[in-house]
Symmetry: C2
Subunit: 296 residues, 2 copies
Amino acid sequence: MTNALTTEPENAVAVVQRVESFLDARLKRTELPANLVEAIRYAVLGGGKMLRPQLAIRSCEAAGGDVEDVIGPAAALELIHAFSLVHDDLPAMDDDELRRGRPTLHIHAGEAMAILAGDAMMSLAFEIICECNFDEPRRASVVMELAAGTTAMIGGQVYDTLGGFPDGLSETDRLKLIHRNKTGALIRAACRMGGICAGANDEVMESLTQYGEASGLMFQVVDDLLDVTQSAEHIGKATGKDAEAGKLTFPGVLGIDGSRAEVERCEKRAIEALAPLGPPAGPLRELCGYMARRTK
Amino acid sequence: MTNALTTEPENAVAVVQRVESFLDARLKRTELPANLVEAIRYAVLGGGKMLRPQLAIRSCEAAGGDVEDVIGPAAALELIHAFSLVHDDLPAMDDDELRRGRPTLHIHAGEAMAILAGDAMMSLAFEIICECNFDEPRRASVVMELAAGTTAMIGGQVYDTLGGFPDGLSETDRLKLIHRNKTGALIRAACRMGGICAGANDEVMESLTQYGEASGLMFQVVDDLLDVTQSAEHIGKATGKDAEAGKLTFPGVLGIDGSRAEVERCEKRAIEALAPLGPPAGPLRELCGYMARRTK
């Protein structure tokens, strides 16, 4: 079931497998209905890139923490991300039938199950954090990051699909507002959660936050570029849909070359933010390079 | 907007108004899209009975705590309950157009907004708990109760609408499994959260837990009885739908008289569980009486 970042950084596959094993074991010991557990497994263990878990784990390492401490929060992040995809794919939302080259959950298990499985994935994410071994102040901080990141992510999806913008924003500002929330908030939260699990001080937290914000924006610009430049077969989901749906996209607003320049600027900012962290931030730098140059 | 438990116990209206004011103020200071905030307001400040907040607040009082400490968790409980109603009403689920005498959220604001507003209500609930003033161990315990109660509630909805039962359960056992999760888990969590906020010891927590389990089951039996004995006009939502949908209900399995006897048994158990708590549990006893004899 692994479809990890297979090029960079080293050990990415091992990281993904640890998070998958954690989720597998956690789902084995729920008392939830068997059909619900099967649906959650389908959605969260379906070969995602597990980018957010990797960011959390690499951020924890960069801050001098023990990877063991962040596996639970990393799994929680993937549950939140996977829940958002399940709900975004619903007929009343993006109405997508294909995700990672497989039928979306509502095609596989029905719409009611997709709604409920998404809901359960969110609450399960918070349960998992509460079950972590680290001390309670840290646990409460991690919950706060995850909750705020999730709420912002949902707000971003509303902006993207239903509007509700503050008055007077330019097209570029609206686009950035969408994605600072829709994609950026949870990526930022992933980096910060890694830092919190490591007991990072304010300065380190600030580095990780800056890194998370820059790489989150970059990730979305790359995503939009892939949507216009790649075939559906290659990236495993429908492409060109953003433009068809009349959505604001980075290539649409900045052009393809302008978007590529934005990717470069973001990557530079992200790498610079890590300077104070020195060698332990190596894997986080590599991950940023992968995010800038990924092809799916 | 108040449609509180106007008969019993005394001060119920005041309690409800405090939770409503809290939610109103909290929603004013979010940075979420304006249309999303409006949808959340519509769903959570729409004149619900606020039973779960009342249970949390009365449980906190019964355990000798300060009501001030439990207002945030009480508001979070109502957000979770309201989110579950919004999603349960969706076309792919119960397909209800009427709730508390008003159009359901997906009729009022569209299906996509109803899905997203429900999602945001859940994550906002966890944010609210993290913002509470009480110490972090208490905060982490409250998050755990709320998360586990929410996951179980969603599992109960799956049992009720999509099956997934363990093998070999009788009809009565299946019915109890549905409602121990669907309604019971969050009511139990409400009582326990009140206790945690009061810093209750194990013995007090056990009393509140027993009370919550008995009154939660009772609440659902009464709900099923109202569904077959009351008109839609009176209770503000469609009635008789459970039987039409072929759902397992208490009157269907135990008969009307058998269900009424079950209500009496539950009430007795709930009241007995409170015995060790003495006079401070007075309002919690009254609330149980209201739950047993409510007519809407």
